[in-house]
């Protein structure tokens, strides 16, 4: 894997949102990469820039107010920020597809799900109606939706939340993309359905040898599915590594705080840890390390010096000079 060129690679990506009299630095220099067939998780609190940094890869930053002010996004070696709209449309859905958070609202209420899955295919391929129907049925069957021939003619409101999310995944898979971006696909679902959807994602990924960029704030999910993990905080990646490194050997105080606040069998009866304070407003970030006001390990230099990524082990890097130096 390490010798291969990554499928998607962002380098020092910066996405700012221009407000009336302030600039929100939602993503402020994020570099991540995904290899073919790999599952990568972007983890972080709400508003830390996970979704924005993934949307940028599809060229879907709402503009204005959003603007990509710096960095590159390389998909299969080409910088997709330099592509025009037509070329982007050929990539979207066909090579990079996306599953959204809310299955309730991500399907068009006035079309049957068959129409919508069919549209996903027809946008990128010329295909006869018969073959299209067959493929839609097959997709729904792969998603584990019972009696797909009938469900094809259903409207989204006639399906349950989990089924709708399965339909969304079917649409995302319709053109056999190389990369699927899943933006908190299980957050709006209840826990039992969540597990089913995760298993489904995993099985289709193995079958299609597709890379998945999984955006979530649920560390429990991450440990179950991820090959590698990026932990984001306030528009920056603060720690990256494979799942074992990040979960077993976290270095950054933010990652440690997140892990400590997970409920666990060992912590039964005790109060859960919580990280004091809240995520800084992206328009008014503190100087130096963005995490220092909430950090128990902060030293004087944290308030002024912006930390760099420090390599620890093979593939494991973190953005905390204080803890990284004294392992």
């Amino acid at each position: 894997m390490a010798f291969q060129k990554p499928l998607l690679r962002t380098e020092d990506l910066k996405v700012y949102f221009y407000g009336r009299d302030k600039i929100s630095r939602a993503v402020d220099g994020v570099s991540y990469h995904i290899h073919a067939g790999e599952t990568v998780c972007l983890v972080g609190e709400s508003g830390c820039g996970k979704t924005v940094s993934a949307l940028a890869a599809l060229g879907l930053i709402p503009s204005p107010p959003g603007k990509i002010v710096g960095g590159r996004i390389l998909f299969k070696g080409t910088d997709i920020l330099s592509l025009d709209e037509d070329a982007m449309q050929k990539i979207r859905g066909n090579q990079i597809s996306m599953v959204f958070q809310e299955p309730l609202t991500s399907l068009n209420p006035v079309f049957t799900i068959g129409d919508q899955i069919g549209e996903a295919i027809r946008t990128h391929e010329t295909i006869s109606q018969d073959a299209l129907d067959k493929r839609c049925v097959q997709l729904l069957r792969d998603m584990g939706i019972p009696s797909p021939e009938q469900r094809l003619h259903d409207y989204p409101h006639q399906l349950s939340g989990g089924q709708r999310q399965r339909v969304m995944i079917a649409m995302a898979l319709a053109c056999n993309p190389d990369l699927m971006i899943a933006d908190e696909p299980t957050t709006a679902l209840d826990v039992t359905v969540q597990a089913q959807i995760l298993n489904l994602l995993k099985s289709v990924q193995e079958k299609a040898s597709m890379a998945v960029l999984y955006i979530t704030h649920d560390l429990g999910v991450v440990s179950g599915i991820a090959d590698r993990v990026y932990v984001m905080y306030a528009g920056l990646i603060v720690e990256e590594g494979n799942t074992r490194q990040v979960f077993g050997n976290a270095v950054h105080p933010y990652t440690m705080g997140l892990l400590a606040s997970l409920p666990d069998r060992k912590k039964r009866g005790k109060r859960l840890h919580n990280i004091p304070g809240t995520v800084p407003n992206p328009a008014y970030k503190p100087d130096g390390c963005p995490f220092h006001p909430r950090c128990s390990h902060a030293v004087e230099s944290c308030k002024t010096v912006e930390p760099e990524m420090i390599p620890l082990e093979e593939g494991h890097r973190c953005r905390c000079p204080v803890l990284a130096k004294k392992p």
Partner: protein
């Protein structure tokens, strides 16, 4: 997991409710609204009457002659019998009775109403068709592209092209041609500059946004709304040759503002919906998203307002005819029957009541029908 899925699959393939086609379901929902069904029935009757009216009242020797003058039989009340002694054979009304009376020239009001029905129907549909198409198009663009700016160079292109055309029409051929070519040249330059995202040929301020697309369209709407539209129609009709098609087009082109505002408002909220982002993430083009994905979500309320618009258009035509600016006589429309009758309102009240009540019923049935349509088109209500 795969095993459990297939297992579930087998278990869940249970008996299915009998499926109904979309149309059947819509009709079933529609039927539940009694008033709407009444509206539909009256509308169908009106439609058949209008079509039959054209067939029966046109040609050299029509079955019902709406313009046959019988001065000796003028102002006969409805259901009165013709005096067969004073009439020639071809002057006797076809039904042998003046069903709706006669007017001041002894013309059969029933025949005239038949002839006028077609005018009302086509005016209503064509005018509203134009208004809805223009409204949906402009409203959709304004709502979807709302925040996109219009840059100075685009305004400049447009002004150059427009002034070129104007000068050409004014017969200043050389100047007009020069300006027009300059406009096209500028346009190509602007396109190129946008494509490569850097402009070597143009100063930077030309690419600053002057105002948003939304502003452009909505101010156009405001300007159109500022005109008292009835007088605008009067002016235009006075300038153009009097013909029923001109009136339809003019009514259509002065009544699209409501639909535009409506569609824009719908689009502003639809644009933020997740399914629009999902459609974008699937790689669909903007026009496909606007007209195939968002429009059906916005069209149900538009249809309802369109049915009411048909009623308004019929009223406007009647008003124009009433003022004598409408369809030229001797062609009868409901409006000019009404207008002719107003002089005899105390002597022959049926001359005003008959067309008035006909307009009332048709307008009412359109409104009821529109209301029922709104429910039938809502997929959320379309459940087994």
């Amino acid at each position: 997991m795969a095993e459990t899925l297939t297992k579930n699959h087998e278990i869940l393939e249970g008996p299915q409710a009998p499926r109904q086609s979309r149309f059947v379901q819509q009709f079933r929902l529609f039927k539940e609204n009694r008033l709407a069904v009444v509206g539909l029935v009256i509308f169908l009757a009106f439609f058949i009457t209008a079509v039959a009216g054209v067939v029966l009242t046109s040609g050299q020797d029509p079955v019902f002659n709406p313009s046959l003058v019988r001065l000796q039989e003028k102002l006969q009340p409805p259901l009165s019998l013709p005096n067969l002694e004073t009439l020639k054979a071809h002057e006797v009304p076809t039904l042998g009775i003046y069903l709706l009376g006669t007017d001041d020239l002894g013309r059969d009001v029933f025949a005239r109403m038949l002839q006028g029905a077609w005018v009302s129907l086509t005016v209503g549909f064509v005018a509203v068709g134009i208004a809805v198409i223009v409204g949906i198009f402009l409203g959709g663009l304004a709502g979807y592209y709302g925040q996109e700016g219009i840059c100075y160079d685009q305004i400049l292109d447009f002004l150059l092209l427009l002034s070129g055309i104007i000068f050409f029409i004014l017969k200043w051929h050389k100047l007009g041609f020069g300006l027009f070519t300059a406009g096209i040249f500028m346009m190509i330059l602007s396109f190129r500059a946008r494509r490569v995202k850097q402009n070597r040929f143009m100063p930077g301020w030309l690419h600053k946004s002057a105002f948003s697309f939304d502003t452009l369209i909505m101010r156009m709407v405001d300007i159109m709304l500022c005109f008292p539209s009835f007088f605008l129609i009067l002016t235009v009709v006075a300038l153009l040759p009097a013909s029923i098609y001109n009136i339809m087009i003019v009514i259509g082109l002065t009544s699209w503002m409501g639909t535009t505002r409506f569609v824009r408002a719908e689009f502003l909220s639809l644009r933020e919906q997740d399914f629009v982002s999902a459609a974008k993430a699937l790689g669909l083009g903007n026009f496909r998203i606007i007209f195939r994905h968002m429009m059906p979500n916005a069209v149900a309320p538009v249809l309802v307002s369109a049915t009411i618009g048909i009623a308004t258009a019929i009223l406007t035509e009647a008003g124009l005819s009433f003022l004598g600016f409408g369809v030229p006589p001797p062609y009868a429309t409901w409006g000019n029957i009404l207008s002719d009758g107003k002089r005899f309102i105390f002597d022959a009240p049926w001359l005003t009541f008959v067309p008035g009540i006909a307009i009332l019923i048709v307008v009412l049935c359109f409104n009821l029908f529109g209301e029922g349509l709104k429910d039938a088109l809502n997929p959320k209500l379309r459940q087994e």
